[in-house]
Subunit: 207 residues, 2 copies
DNA sequence: ACCTGTGAATAAGTTCACAGCA
DNA sequence: TGCTGTGAACTTATTCACAGGT
């Protein structure tokens, strides 16, 4: 490693590059330049090169990057080279959409368990996955599940997060529109759909 | 306005503060200090004060902010003081979850139309909203809809964005995992669920 | 000629520390 | 005393420009 500390922003962008590389790969590309990748992802080429420079020399001067090799390197950095299992908590409308969503595979992510509190839903099978009783959440520790997706109402969010932390979860993707208090060792990423949408009108000129 | 240019980050955080204020309001709070709001939103109090300072003097020294007044001010800045209508494109699993989602109202956002290409879905009524044929998307101009939510497969994303832009849309909330090329006057915010989740393992210590 | 990798320059964002007012 | 509002200091991130391989 060439830098003593790796900034946050390059890490945030790595999955974007991975997405672009998979797109290029789909189109049969074996090699890609930073200029070329920039077109796929909407990030400037110098930004891409700088970002990679924090992690190593992945390219060849005068040529570019090998698509497959670069994707593999990024996956390694992001710890996506091994399959990461996740538990879904809350199988409502959004939870159902997440179970049906095909996009996790390319990152090596695997929704390996689903929990709900609604007795009508418990036992139902979706995509080879049986919905389990939320009270059984403690079992994920033994199943080596360290990631969770929370798709539940806001009022239950903090207490559910507490249960997840107790069950050994180290990363939470939170869809509830609220700030979650968790120990420092646990990383939370919140996706607040309404909030993101609420930012759009600001950028539109007066109607 | 006291600053010649308003930075992006404060704007990104304004909806977070709005969310916190609504929470405080729910709990019956009439007044709030930056320290107090900080607890609700997970942002440092000095950051909150600095952010507000770009837009005006909203508080009272020694006292704090009036919850209702501050919320109103933020809404005005974000152009959320008038109801903003949005069109949903793609009523699959995720689209359905978005239609059912109750969280848009607090921001004055209103999903006022839904479109799909699937003939089996067209004509179906969800929440007082009839799913329309995607070919009728041009009608949103007359209906004064300037926002769109895209919940469709990636392969259709760019062409759909092109159609939306032609129909006069000025803001797009994009759930497809790809970069969209649009004119500068159009603002795109992309939510890539798998990508956000893919960032979590990096922060978890080796298992 | 072409494209990467990276110090240096610039820009943006955060944190501090305290003046100013209730 | 308590809390806001904000220049100034500091930190982080982006962009440039070009040396250095292929």
């Amino acid at each position: 490693m060439r830098y003593s500390r790796i900034p946050d922003e390059p890490i945030r962008r790595l999955p974007i590059y991975l997405r672009g590389l998979l797109l290029a790969s789909e189109q049969g590309q074996k090699n890609i330049s930073s200029n070329n990748l920039a077109d796929f992802v909407g990030v400037y080429p110098w930004q891409i090169r700088k970002d990679f420079s924090y992690f190593g020399d992945f390219g060849t001067r005068g040529v570019g990057y090998n698509v497959g090799k670069l994707a593999k390197e990024i996956k390694k950095i992001l710890k996506l080279n091994i399959s990461q299992k996740a538990a879904l908590v809350g199988v409502g409308n959004l939870g159902m959409a997440i179970l049906a969503f095909p996009g996790f595979g390319i990152y090596g992510l695997d929704i390996a368990a689903a929990f709900d509190v609604n007795p009508k839903k418990i036992g139902r099978k979706i995509n080879n996955l049986t919905i389990e009783n939320f009270s059984k959440l403690g079992t994920i520790k033994k199943r080596k599940i360290k990631l969770a997706v929370m798709a539940i109402p806001r009022k239950a969010a903090q207490e559910t997060a507490d249960v997840l932390v107790k069950a050994g979860v180290r990363g939470i993707l939170n869809f509830s529109p609220c700030y979650l208090v968790v120990p420092k060792k646990v990383k939370v990423i919140t996706i607040d759909i309404a909030m993101d949408m609420a930012r759009l009108p600001y950028y539109m000129p007066a109607s």
